[in-house]
Symmetry: C2
Subunit: 257 residues, 2 copies
DNA sequence: CGTTACAGTGAACACTGTTCGGCAACTGAA
DNA sequence: TTCAGTTGCCGAACAGTGTTCACTGTAACG
């Protein structure tokens, strides 16, 4: 993400289905009262330590040094908490000002930044996947992406799908990344007390497995074993992204492969 | 999916991380003993009735007319059960014999069939998303897709990513579809006792919401409101798919837009 | 001092996945 | 026919989940 950014626009009115949250405390704080922010902070700490499956309200409460029921004064449910975590990811994620000449790089930058944001917290892609990005805080981002596509000259129908397509790709890719990592960690934890997930080892094991398949039934899988499972996820991510970008570019009036 | 199909090839040796399941009963059944098949059947019934969140081992047991603990004789965990459900979806899903002339239609057919399979059971996309498709039963499918891409003439690196890219797209798209449907159902259930999820109504509501956004901050979102939320998911699915296909085609030696 | 307001508590409820000791019915052998 | 032995299933239990609610203590105000 470069610095050619527009600040987040004024927030729109809430979506029709927006969840109503308990109103924030009205009086001056006694000491350091529990706030929505602090609950979300604690939730992120627990998430990074124990993963999404270990993220229970009890753990969050313990992390915040508070009773479970206290959480429900600032958050209406666990679902709501997850939504707040999802929304926070977007905070400070500035969107590009559309530049028709550089739309591909802008989309690439956007996608890469978003991926790294997802990678910054364990299991974050799973949380992201579970949310339609049409809540009020996120609409500016959808708008900005649309702006990039439309000013680039894409037909409306294509532009309307492009955002969804790319978001889905990013979320899905990072989700899968996380699953591989989890499996590697699990396997490493099994066979040795060294819990360090040895990624390369797992990749090698997978390649060996592919190479061991019967040549007759799986010629292509065998041939591409080295490419299917690689330790360079960055590269794979860029390739998939490039495929999508090329597809989008094919809809531009002037053919600029 | 047309009839130009190859039967499922011989099943490969199990992946390194394959879960070991309890061996099936060895003696002749007394009456109509509980089988792995019947457990999965019951699970699908519960899934369609109550959704993934309502799919508990207790419910499955009740549906099968059996105690909870009996399930664990045929399935090693709930995760294992979900994996079996996922694998069953692929059963009877025949793969195309690669035809370089028709690779686009073949991929299109494949994608559409897979989407409809996912739509056939509630929340199935969520289950699908949670699994890497590299378990032994599914490798033939990966191989078949790879075959289509490679015989079409795509470079290896591109072919290796293409399968993942398309799977991710399908799963993600259907997942989102399901989320909208759930929301529509929830909203309809809220405002009227008629639990029938009125899809068009929700789409209209969304469009109104987009149209109500301030013109200054959300010009593009307003302009494309009609295209972003449409009741014809089929059309949207095909558009996204076409974008990907065009991107892939751009890597072919002979430019055949 | 008394009153009110309220953030935070702890116990409870109805669930969840999973395990384990035991029971009943069937098998094959004596 | 009787006696193991095995197998399929059951009930109860354990530790955990999200959520609610009557309750406390403390702080500020009149």
């Amino acid at each position: 993400m470069t610095d050619e950014t527009a600040g987040t626009p004024a927030s729109p009115p809430p979506s029709p289905w927006e969840r109503e949250r308990p109103a924030p405390a009205r009086v001056a704080p006694a000491r350091e009262p529990l706030s929505r922010e602090r609950v979300v902070d604690a939730a992120f700490t627990v998430l990074d330590r124990q993963g999404l499956d270990g993220l229970s309200m009890r753990q969050v409460a313990a992390e915040a040094g508070v009773a479970v029921s206290a959480l429900y004064a600032h958050v209406s449910s666990k679902d709501d908490l997850l939504e707040l975590m999802y929304a926070r990811l977007f905070a400070g994620f500035a969107m590009p000002v559309p530049d028709p000449e550089r739309w591909r790089e802008q989309v690439r930058d956007y996608a890469r930044s978003w991926r790294h944001l997802l990678l910054a917290h364990r299991d974050m892609a799973r949380i992201s996947m579970a949310h339609v990005p049409f809540t009020a805080e996120l609409l500016p981002h959808v708008e900005a992406l649309l702006a990039v596509f439309r000013t680039a000259g894409l037909p409306d129908r294509i532009a309307a799908e492009a955002g969804d397509l790319i978001s889905t790709y990013i979320d899905g890719f990072v989700l899968e990344e996380g699953m591989w990592r989890d499996r590697a960690a699990l396997q490493a934890g099994d066979k040795s007390s060294l819990a360090r997930p040895d990624w390369r080892e797992m990749a090698g094991e997978m390649q060996n497995y592919f190479a061991s398949l019967p040549e007759q039934d799986f010629p292509h899988l065998r041939a591409l074993a080295g490419l299917m499972v690689t330790d360079s996820a960055d590269e794979r991510f860029d390739i998939g992204l490039e495929i999508i970008l090329r597809g989008l570019a094919s809809y531009l009036p002037s053919p600029s492969v």
